[in-house]
Symmetry: C2
Subunit: 96 residues, 2 copies
């Protein structure tokens, strides 16, 4: 799970381009099992953090597949292409 | 997506019981499409927050289904049964 806070949270065009670029990147990594690219659902409950602009949920069949994704050239290019847009990135890696 | 920080993060037995109780609760809510109950994957990268003890990813087909889940008696009972264990709960609701 990844959450992005953009430097310009009002720039909808750039956010849309970034989400499109995220999907293009995901499609290059065959080790990804499922992905979800989202935005805050606007649920105004006290425990809900809606301050981010873009969220990702990416799932893998194994830790090894996640390792491939992590070091994939498409991932490194993606970070290089878009990191200038991000004020803050928060990642939570979970397994079961 | 929900992240729990437990009052006693060292109490593995209680954490296991809580995760079991979470799954029992999920099985009572037919509006849930998929769920994942996880713990930190132990990936030591700078942007990764591994300080929580339990994570949930719960997906729904529609906002309406999520509303039913939110107000479901099994959800209310679950919160009442386990909230004394939680130091902090962080929720991110996303849609696409």
């Amino acid at each position: 799970m990844v959450f992005f806070w953009m430097k310009d949270p009002e720039d909808e065009k750039t956010i849309q381009d970034f989400m499109k670029g995220t999907e293009d990147f995901f499609k290059q990594v065959e080790e990804i099992k499922t992905y979800h690219i989202g935005t805050p659902a606007g649920t105004p409950r006290e425990v809900v953090d809606s301050s981010y602009q873009v969220s990702l949920v990416v799932t893998f069949d194994s830790k090894e597949d996640q390792d491939v994704y992590q070091d994939h050239q498409a991932h490194l290019d993606y970070i290089e292409d878009y990191k200038h847009l991000w004020k803050r990135v928060q990642v939570y890696d979970s397994w079961s």
